[in-house]
Amino acid sequence: MSVSETSATPPAPRRWQGVPSVPGWAFWVVLLGVTWAASHYAMDIYKALDARWIIRFPAAWQPDFEGRISAGMKWLLEEAELFGILFRDVTRAIARLIEIPYDLAVDLLVTGVLQGQGQQAQQVLPPLSWIAVTYIFCALGHYAKGWRLAALMGACFLYLAVFGQWASAMLTLASVLIAVPLAAVGGLLLGILAFRVPMAERILRPVLDLMQTVPIFAYLVPILFMFGFGPVAALAATVIYAMPPMIRVTIVALRGVPEELGELGVMVGATSGQQMWKVLVPAARPTLMVGLNQVIMLTLNMVIIASMIGAGGLGYDVLTALRRLDIGGGVEAGLAIVVLAIALDRLSQAFSARTVTLRASQSRGGWAMRHRWLLSSLAVVLVTALIGLALPWVQTYPKAAVISTGQIWADAIGYINVNYFDTLDAIKTVLLTWVLLPVRQFFTGIPWPWGLAAITLIGARVGGWRLAALVFALTGLVVLTGLWTKAMMTVYLCGVSVVIASIIGIPIGILAARNEMSNRVVGVFIDTLQTLPSFVYLIPVVMLFRVGDFSAMIAIVAYALAPAVRYAAHGIRSVDPQIVEAGIVSGCTPWQMLRRIKLPIIAPELLLGLNQTVMLALSMLVITALVGTRDLGQEVYIALTKANVGQGIVAGLAVAFIAIIADRLLEAAARRMRNRAGGA
């Protein structure tokens, strides 16, 4: 999205040929040199000047953000009222609103309808049988696209049953089924509001921007505080997390409806309701469906993570396995998440791409013919439920037939650890001693006064004084919270990961762009990587490298790889073929072609890819707190376990500020680069 925005900016006056006060490279070399010196000699400076505040922002200077926010939340929850309605009652009402459908979904998919309490509960009605659920998803697959998708659906759900993940998967699915409509409808309505009322959009936009950068965990803390530990809190967090993209997509989709269609609505005398629901929304449907796909994937991602505040299901299995270092169980649950993610992704994508020819062919025939999938699904549900009373295996996949792969995975990982321990350890040690630790020392050593000055200088350099003021203010706030060192830890881990992800990702992207075939293969791979909930990445990493910075880095790199690949491939493919031909005519070798022609042209594109990589890295970074990093992510995680709202929000906002700073700086840099290319 930022691609089109930045490309619209008018070219700046040429400055590259003039006499800039400092040549480009000199600025960066001097800045780096000074920063290195400041970092290296911080201790000495502090001792020489006897000014400890240089390396440690004094507690006395810190306004008590945490305490105030916590107190505010407490007040909100206990005393706040509007028109005589207690805020507490509002949250309770919301909780009920979520709980009722959720309980229904759980009844339907997992437990069946129960009567009585606790242990004496009697099952009055069984849940949908595993055969019925599988059949329904096959039917959806066929309806959305055809036999191949139906087969994929069947395979995925059979996998869940055969490999013993059924109950957990259904619990996760129940959460997704409840959260998706809430988030989608909520997002749609808010999007419509923003489309209709300019004022609403002006309020929503900055909120959305902020929400996009606040790390996932940080949502959980206040939600936990308001709703308590349990599935309701998890669902509330999920809905809030998955809604912003839908709002954005709705605004974009409605704006994208051709003006003529809007005029058509007016000309045929549509009321404003008819205009919206009969003209604009249906015409925007294809784009809205893309938003729905995003909502589904984000929901799944969040439902998994929200297992930390009480969502059961596959995420909970992964979490407990990670805590117990139960290798087999973790991998099994992780794979089940992957399977579920792929199934939901492909299904919702197929629905958004459903062609009119398919729709036309489906609307032929009699009533029964047109509704054959609905009817047969109902039949399967009823029949399996009845037969299930006599033959239990029809109702529930028999335990005896479950294939457990846990041991296999445990053995495999064990084998790798035994036989390749030295190799893995060597890799780890080399990277740690030569890359991670020095960089970490460099960043964490930077005294905050110089850090603040340096980032402001960078802002001024790439984007002028307004940007400088913005990054100064944001960094200043981080300093004021007393989280400087942890913020630097975050920057270090994120920075290293992003650099490594780029080093791996950009060449892959360039290779992928070489021909159709490699492009398709890499595309499928990258798409699949992106559909996986971030939690899943932790599993193999922890199994192979234990906890610590190194593991965190690997997980972040894997998660943040996709945009680097994608933007590089896209950039290379969009290079004007005439320029390439000009290069060939003037006798460039392929290598010269890449280095002298293509790379300079796609540099702005690469920077935008870098921007996305940074955002993904930051969001993953917080999750890696689970494997024992010591950055802001850990701060949020601690807040979560202690249910300390103030701490959680402050640390979450600190991460968000870092993200905003990185975003603005990179965007400004890309714009500068493009203008320079345009002006040259």
Partner: protein
Amino acid sequence: MERPVLLECRNLWKVYGHRPDQFLKEHGGNPSGDALRRAGMIGAVRDANVKIRQGEIFVIMGLSGSGKSTLVRCLSRLIRPDAGELIFDGQNILPYTDKQMLDIRRRRMGMVFQHFALLPHLTVLENAAFPLEIQGVPRAKREAQAREVIELVGLKGREDYYPSQLSGGQQQRVGIARSLAVEPDLWFLDEPFSALDPLIRREMQDEFMRLQAMLKKTIVFITHDFDEAIRLADRIAVMRDGRIVQVATPQDLVLSPADDYVAEFTRYVPKSKVLTMGAIMAPGAAAGDVAGELIVTDRVEAVADRIERADGMFNIRDEEGRIVGHVGRAVIIDILVGRSSAA
């Protein structure tokens, strides 16, 4: 003989820019082009005066950006003009609220769009029935009505297709069918054939003429193609930079262009396409052999063959049937080869 006026606009203004109302007031309601430019405003429609008579095809033409679309959108109140009067059927509808407009739009106006504006999720039938659906007409009735108009535009048998399964020409036929479904009195067409290939465009023009011969609607038709304008128009308004520079019949436009701009438009138009018998005839009945009879409104192009092949003169009758003049082969040939400074 003048037919009654259905829609009229007086001193209509539409200005884009910062606070157009105030700007117009400051300049006494009639800012010059210079004043507009200095203030950075765009005068999309400037002081337009137009009378559209019942049953005529009124064509608005001009170069791209001359304000044609803006003018029709003002006439249909899709956009609100900044100043002026807009009189529909004797009522000034400019101050009408959206609610009041709703009724007029639902029953009395239809519009065809340049890019068809079909709803992609509806079939041909549903698209054609859409205006009726908006009015709350029950399904059976509106579909019956829609089927009629679909047949009228020659798309029978394709009722269940979706727009994306149709060619451009067919899509515009659906657009036409839809705009006719409510049986409007006033029919707006904004460059309806511009997005089509030249061959299809001619075919659609013929189709349009056939429909109009049957339906006799009052039509406001926009085009930037002068050939199209003279084929279809009863009268043409030529626009330039937001102003209407001339309103005239195709013939008068060619014979006496108001300024160089209009002359430039009409320069390469074969005269035979616009000149009528009335303009080229010699007064009085023919003296010698009479080979046949024609009417004053016949265009040279249409009857040239007959006149050329015949040896004698043709008498020309006016609409009341009186003989008012005569035409011979020599005049026609002069016009066809472009030699004549006819009339």
